[in-house]
Symmetry: C2
Subunit: 223 residues, 2 copies
């Protein structure tokens, strides 16, 4: 299986960094092909505008989706974006690995989606969700949080983590067709004991060795 | 009243751009003081890491929140970030004005939140939501979408727009204390007739003339 891991933490020695290294090692040891996009290490630029393209369809008025379709027909995305698209097109499993910042993706990862998920190449109007291009592929979120697990229960301080993640799981992953696997959630690793963190890494590795056989979850609709 | 409008569209001639111009003109004509952050025009860098600070608390291991608290005590945020914080601290009303991209904020705006909403200055652990620093202030989202209004109904293609916006309204705005006003929603302006767009701009202007008297909405919890 070909796997793409997109990692978005600024500190390589962080628990996110350890989850990233563990995933690479475990999946490669299991015989899978692992591609990576370590966005901070790459210095990835997350701002979407004309910098995405070599071409200009309408030089005086920027409509990003129209420029994306134009660039898709002419194969004129810039090398940085085209390279990320090529990895995404290869990958049978996509893992987005990030710390939850303000109940969403860190900007560097949100911008990876904004720029790479281009109309005419990654998705088409009228071909979304079960009709999406990646309908036979799988994806999952691997997430660390700052607060502890009780804070992310439906009646906790912040509320249900699954509802918090829904705009990402449904609005990004399912929207282009992916079947979504259960998120891997690690609450408050900054404050956790080393032995707990090591246990979590072992659990993550164990899960990845059998991930090919997992069934997708029901993400649910926005309510 | 002092108002901060943070605008995140790459095309100044877009409908978002027109909403931005209309808001500035209307609020100033009503006697309010308007501050703006036009993120694309500013070339705002949305990537959060050590670039936020002049100081380094832990040079060998980056914990962003700890570095934020350290920088807050020493007043050592870089000028770009400090300037945005100063505007936010002045503003009695905050307007985030953006196109909905992948069911969330464009990366340039998400990164404005990631970098500017710093622990020790904008929020403190244990002082969130109704105990947040901005508990006496108000904020609202002004949002354009690509799809039309039926797509954003609870049973529509994408689902309930209010649930889609909840991680922003609750997880960012309410989390630091803001009372949230009803979002201003404009569905599919790209495909709308000019007369419709002009009507929407008139409605937006009319709302802004009395916005000081509006009551906050119930954003709801994640479900």
């Amino acid at each position: 299986m070909k796997v793409l891991i997109v990692h978005a933490h600024p500190e390589p020695l962080s628990f996110c960094g350890a989850l990233f290294e563990t995933a690479i090692e475990t999946l490669e040891a299991a015989g899978h092909t692992v591609m990576t996009s370590d966005l901070y290490a790459m210095g990835f630029d997350p701002v979407s505008d004309r910098r995405n393209f070599h071409t200009q369809h309408h030089p005086t008025y920027l409509r990003l989706q129209q420029e994306e379709r134009y660039a898709a027909r002419r194969d004129s995305f810039t090398a940085e974006i085209d390279g990320e698209m090529a990895k995404l097109e290869e990958a049978e499993l996509l893992i987005l690995l990030f710390p939850l910042w303000w109940f969403g993706l860190p900007a560097i990862l949100k911008g990876w989606v904004d720029r790479v998920f281009a109309m005419g190449r990654i998705y088409e109007e009228g071909q979304l969700y079960q009709h999406g291009r990646f309908a036979k592929r799988r994806a999952l979120l691997c997430v660390t949080t700052g607060a502890d697990e009780p804070a992310y229960q439906p009646e906790g301080l912040h509320g249900d983590i699954h509802a918090i993640l829904r705009p990402i799981e449904r609005g990004i992953l399912q929207c282009v067709g992916y079947q979504v696997l259960a998120p891997a959630l690690f609450h408050g690793p900054e404050g956790a004991e080393l032995v707990v963190r090591e246990h979590w890494l072992d659990e993550w590795a164990a899960r990845l060795t059998t991930i090919e056989r997992e069934s997708p979850i029901e993400v649910g609709r926005y309510r």
